[in-house]
């Protein structure tokens, strides 16, 4: 437990070090999630559009 506390306090500078790592993690994960989501959405929209065009006549176009 003492080891962990010493590690987290980082010689008293943990208040600067951990937020730096946290901000980097948040920004990178947000980028990744946003990019994954938009790729999935656009590609499924494209697939749906192509299917609609091939199958049913363009009543919704």
């Amino acid at each position: 437990m003492d080891h962990l506390m010493a590690f987290l306090s980082m010689g008293g500078k943990g208040g600067y070090i951990w937020p730096a790592y946290l901000i980097a993690a948040v920004v990178l994960i947000a980028l990744l999630v946003n990019s994954l989501r938009s790729a999935r959405i656009q590609e499924s929209r494209l697939a749906a559009l192509r299917q609609a065009r091939r199958g049913i006549p363009e009543d919704d176009a």
Partner: protein, 239 residues
């Protein structure tokens, strides 16, 4: 080059390397974080605070590298009219902005304990802030037109004009008196940094680079799909 300008061929190559990029990114970042947080020694002057370096410096390199990629793609798109180059530049911009934001905030968190201030208006910090605004300006401009072609062209020109900022950022610490320390790794006489610090730094930097490639592939995929959707809707509207 023309071979890869074909979106279908691009998607084939991109999808083949995607899982590798994603996997190696995870491994490199895990190893880099382990070395950075547990294995590397505290600095003899800066103490533990030096661990911010393993995030700050690689993200600063990426901020410049991604901008250079964006500018080259924009130039290719403007000169040779490769539609894929436009999509790559557009896809890269938010990733570069993200790395610049990380660089600025971690730098601020490093500046407070070391310099006694969150921010100073010196040459290095100000020129990186301008880089951040260039990214934001590019993103705003590329989305500002109904006709994507016009947006790509206007934003591409902005990206090329902004290139002048890159050497200013790199050499600002030599040209002007700044609070920011000069380069320790990318210097002519070799890195002035111990291997125990250099290794986690290089691992994080390579990890960030592959992270960029991974996310770029995802974003270009969604841009290609969006462009195809536009074309399909256009052809539907024209009957």
């Amino acid at each position: 080059m023309h071979r890869f300008a074909n979106p279908t061929r691009f998607l084939k190559v991109a999808n083949a390397i995607f899982p590798w990029c994603a996997g190696i990114t995870a491994l490199l970042l895990a190893a880099g974080l382990y070395l950075a947080l547990f294995h590397s020694p505290p600095d003899y002057q800066q103490g533990e605070t030096v661990r911010i370096m393993y995030i700050h410096v690689p993200s600063a390199w990426m901020a410049l590298f991604v901008y250079a990629c964006m500018a080259v793609s924009s130039a290719v798109a403007l000169i040779w009219r490769h539609p894929l180059a436009d999509l790559i530049a557009k896809a890269a911009a938010p990733i570069g902005a993200g790395f610049t934001l990380i660089c600025l905030t971690t730098g601020s968190l490093w500046g407070k304990p070391m310099w006694g201030t969150w921010w100073v208006w010196d040459a290095r910090l100000t020129s990186v802030l301008i880089l951040f605004f260039l990214y934001l300006g590019y993103i705003a401009l590329v989305n500002a037109f109904d006709d994507p072609t016009r947006g790509h062209r206007a934003a591409g020109i902005l990206a090329l004009v902004g290139v002048v900022n890159l050497p200013i950022i790199k050499f600002s610490v030599e040209w002007w008196n700044t609070l920011h320390q000069p380069a320790s790794v990318l210097r002519l006489d070799g890195p002035a940094i111990y291997p125990t610090m250099l290794w986690p730094l290089l691992l994080m930097a390579t990890g960030f680079t592959l992270f960029f490639v991974t996310v770029l592939i995802l974003r270009v995929r969604s841009e290609i799909a969006a462009a195809k959707i536009r074309n399909l809707q256009l052809s539907l509207a024209q009957g």
